[in-house]
């Protein structure tokens, strides 16, 4: 129900009962006016996200992500660095498989208790902070992918690294994050979303490695497994510490 509708109803009510203007509850009238004057009108992107995510709160968190400047700059720097490593072409699938863990740890830190000033409040909200973090991750990748595409269109495609990061990392990861958020929304569980995203990215990377015949590196360079696993564990620990939630969270 909108405030405008309520106010129209009040007029009808007043006319019907023949009340004098002196009986008007001015506090209530002012609150109706203030609600309309202070009301923020969400843009089309936020409205669409609210419908898709079934949560206007999550949609608001998604669209406000870039405006939280400190977190945004840190998250963007980590994501672009991870992208540089992911697209190095080392001949082993470990690097691209681990890159999302680095990005996740960076984004969790950037929008976690160390940087996000309202983290304590966010932890007490009905919309889970992990769902908010998934939405923020999608925003970081999507906006950087758009900027990467714009840079490519403006001629930066001549720089092969920029094009490689945009097409080999930012765009696929945006799709993976969208998949993760969609799965999380359907299952009402951030953990299900993360599992779907990890599975999606693993399929993308391993399919690419398999097509180029480099998947054999997993076997031929088996000595790399331990250091890579240790590195992944450190990244996972950072992300876990930054998003630790009470028992029973799905």
């Amino acid at each position: 129900m909108t405030g405008r509708y309520e106010m129209a109803g009040d007029h009808d009510d007043l006319a019907g009962r023949g009340r004098r203007p002196g009986d008007v509850d001015l506090d209530r009238v002012w609150l109706g006016v203030a609600a309309q004057v202070w009301r923020r009108h969400p843009g089309p992107a936020e409205r669409a996200a609210g419908r898709l995510l079934r949560s206007p709160g999550l949609a608001r968190a998604l669209v406000t992500t870039p405006s939280l400047l400190a977190g945004w700059l840190i998250a963007t720097a980590v994501v672009l660095m991870a992208g540089l490593f992911a697209t190095l072409g080392t001949g082993t699938p470990y690097v691209p498989l681990l890159a999302p863990a680095v990005a996740a740890a960076g984004i969790a830190y950037a929008y976690g208790p160390g940087i996000d000033p309202a983290w304590e409040l966010a932890r007490s909200m009905a919309v889970s902070d992990r769902m908010v973090l998934l939405a923020r991750t999608l925003a970081v990748f999507a906006v950087n992918a758009v900027l990467g595409l714009a840079a490519a269109a403006a001629g930066a495609a001549a720089v092969p690294t920029a094009a490689a990061v945009t097409f080999g990392w930012l765009l696929p990861m945006t799709a993976v994050c969208a998949l993760a958020l969609a799965a999380a929304t359907l299952a009402q569980s951030a953990n299900v979303g993360v599992a779907a995203g990890v599975a999606g990215w693993a399929i993308v990377v391993l399919a690419g490695q398999s097509a180029s015949g480099r998947l054999t590196a997993v076997i031929t360079e088996a000595g790399l497994v331990l250091p890579y696993l240790a590195f992944a564990a450190v990244c996972a620990a950072i992300a876990w510490a930054a998003t630790r939630v009470p028992r029973g969270t799905p």
Partner: protein, 254 residues
């Protein structure tokens, strides 16, 4: 009862910030008094479901916050003002209150009116469209209170809500507390004894993680009778008497 706590403990390493606390609270304004480091903030954070207890049982609004579904339902009905209110400097007061209303899962159609009511009740009507970075400390505190009450919570948890408010604002705030306490359970953590005397129906006094006293402000005042406890007001002398008695008892045991 909106709050049922039994033997609740929270450890940070070896330190027991809250040590086997039990209490119950229904509708009304409930004061949590105690010196710095008494465990008041940790107890409030557990009730706000920000941190889980290490042991003991906690039921809020008849639900167990240890499970996801009930916790989400609790969070829809709780308002929380942290001791250190973090905020986004680029948001206006109305945007800030609206953001947390939406994260509390309020129906979007109800949000604009709820924001207007919360902003007006905290006396920030003329600052509704001002950026948070332009506000004074007292105004920021009131913006924090506005986001806490925007969902008309059944359980309202306020940690040092009057910090930074001038005397006139504190008097107005106490009236707001009494009004809110008619329908909801309002738990106010403070070390300002006069706030408790003016607004609270029940009071608990904490020190070193334990509750030393639980009763009405009048009963706390009565604890000072026959003692030479320090304080400028009767309630303050009662507070000092209970703390002194507990410390003498602890000294004798050790």
């Amino acid at each position: 009862m909106n709050v049922e706590i039994n033997d609740l403990t929270r450890r940070f390493g070896r330190n027991r910030a809250v040590d086997e606390v039990s209490l119950q609270a229904g509708a009304g304004v409930f004061g949590l008094l105690g010196p710095n480091g008494a465990g008041k903030t940790t107890l409030l954070r557990m009730m706000a479901t920000v941190i889980p207890p290490s042991s003991g049982t906690l039921r809020l609004l008849g639900r167990d916050p240890g499970s996801y579904g009930p916790r989400r339902e609790i969070r829809r009905r709780v308002g929380y003002l942290p001791q250190n209110l973090g905020y986004y400097p680029g948001f206006t007061v109305a945007e800030f209150v609206e953001y947390f209303a939406l994260l509390k899962d309020m129906p979007p159609g109800r949000v604009p009116a709820a924001v207007a009511v919360a902003v007006e009740r905290t006396g920030l009507g003329d600052k509704a469209r001002a950026k948070l970075r332009t506000l004074s400390g007292g105004m920021l505190r009131r913006a924090g209170i506005a986001q806490a009450i925007v969902n008309e919570p059944e359980l309202l948890l306020l940690d040092e809500p009057t910090a930074g408010l001038d005397p006139e604002q504190r008097v107005a705030f106490r009236a707001l507390l009494r009004d809110l306490g008619e329908r909801a359970t309002v738990i106010v953590s403070t070390h300002l004894v006069e706030d408790v005397g003016a607004a609270c129906t029940r009071v608990a006094l904490m020190d070193q993680g334990k509750i030393l006293f639980y009763g009405t402000p009048a009963e706390l005042t009565a604890r000072a009778e026959g003692t030479d406890a320090a304080g400028d007001a009767p309630l303050e002398r009662g507070y000092s008497a209970v703390l002194a008695a507990a410390r003498i008892g602890a000294g004798a045991r050790s």
